[in-house]
Amino acid sequence: MTAPAILPAKGAADRLTGVFWRRPGLLLLLLVTPPLLWLGVVYLGSLAALLLQSFYSIDEFSGVVKEEFTLKTYAELFRAQNLDIILRTVVMATAVTLACAVLAFPIAYYAARYAKGPWKAAFYLGVMLPLWSSYLVKVYAWKLILAKEGILGWAAEGTGTGFIIDGILSVPFLEGSSLSTSPFGTFLVFVYIWLPYMILPMQAALERVPNSMLEASADLGATRSQTFRTVILPLALPGVIAGSIFTFSLTLGDYIIPQIVGDSSRFIGLTVYQLQGTAGNTPLAAAFAVVPILIMLVYLSLAKRAGAFDAL
């Protein structure tokens, strides 16, 4: 007589489960290999190819790419007209990021600390809804809103506040016949389009600040503004930085908005698009594409040195 089996009979699937249970590393390996291949080969690989291209140069007569290592292409970035493009893009990205941060903070703060139940749902819907429609549709809609005969001009005329728009349009560097042909219009559209990318990480960061920490600050004698400066802001800073990475880098790379709204002056993204597409100067396009990467690296190292990630 054989003793009855204590353990239930095992099928092939059970044996496989057993193998994974014994060797959790194997399961992890199977899970992360495909995404790592994607990241390593497709993503980082193309980035490396881009970097390589930037060290090539173009033959000015034949227009053929010379596959020889040179820093000539990078030197071209320092021409006055190219430096102008870089400077204009960085100023725009900085202004857009600051404006997004200022606009997003109260919204994120309200959503994180006060909104509950249906109000929270309404918040998420309100922030996400614009992301559901086409980016191009939104940009063209803004072109119409900002046009001379658009709703904004019409409302300003009706309320006698047209002088505000005229005032903005007479500021140096913001000149234009209407908001939709002024750099200020470009700025407004950038802020509108990227705002959700600032609100969401900020809200996530603010949500992680426990209420007891704000109470502890008040308990120790801090006024509301002191609590804001010394507790809330430092703790929300990683979220602000995360949001600013989005708004900053998205503005650095965008090539559509400046084409549709504004005075058609060139930004990095647009320049890359034109160099690559119409001029066929891939090395210079690649060199231009490296600029935002360098700017972001500098920005992040400055943020780190300022202690922005201490609360992580």
Binding site: S212, E215, A216, S217, A218, L220, G221, Q226, T230, V231
Partner: protein, 328 residues
Amino acid sequence: MTAAVEFQDVSRHFGPVRAVDGVDLTIAEGSFFAMLGPSGSGKTTCLRLISGFEKPTGGAIRIFGEDVSNTPPHLRNVNTVFQDYALFPHLNVRDNVAYGLMVKGVGRAARHAKAEEMLALVKLDGYGDRKPAQLSGGQRQRVALARALVNEPRVLLLDEPLGALDLKLREAMQDELKALQHKLGLTFVFVTHDQHEALSMADSLAVFNEGKIAQIGSPQDIYDRPATRFVADFVGSSNVLPPDLTRALGGPAQWASLRPEATRLAATGPVSGTVTALRYLGSGTRVVIHTGATEIAALVPAGQPVPAEGATTAIAFEPQALHLMGTN
């Protein structure tokens, strides 16, 4: 003696929920006062009423005789040790402790010196440069204590400060807190749901139940003479005897309490029952005897014979051990 904190018919209702309901309370200056009760009994809300994080919906609160109805938390001279410590993760230990001085505009050198002094008081000298995340639970608790004491409050509020610590550490901290309170001569108001902690640390305590104070008095009062069945049951697992059982045991027909350690086993007596459970406690054995509808626990000291489960035994006690609680 002045009253450090005074509640006069104080209520805090959240819609239909009466978290605190008509509480009258006087906490003497320099005392170690405990608020004891199960969760949801209103003890923490009472503490938050003192610190100012909750506003009463009725009644008056006075701190050292001064009505604080219109005083926000940051202007009250009380400080709190929070249950989760609420240390600021982006500041090091020294800056955490010095925070209260920083917001008052005390200069860097002066506030750091004072912070070091406070850290020495809680035996954490040399830890100033660490971040809270690098400390153990017990060390964080000390930092929270030092931070709350740096402003030299007249009343220190402690919201279940030892709840997250393991038993050994908790006992050590109980002694230290008591010694610290003695040394500083401050009024400590301590919220806990642990009856042993409340009894061993407090000079006087209030037992909360459903938003009201069930009893207020010294630990001996509460332990030996519980005013209600709730107090008898909550503080120290007393036997609660219904009126008919009290009468069968020779008392009047009233609810009564009887401590397990005052209950003895006897061969014969007016009330007997079956032993249903035995629990060995080291210092003795807890014997549960089933008599009709009531369970009575008796503590048999170590070295005395313990009956077997299922045996029949009678119970006995000194007459003065029976504490009557009236008919409520």
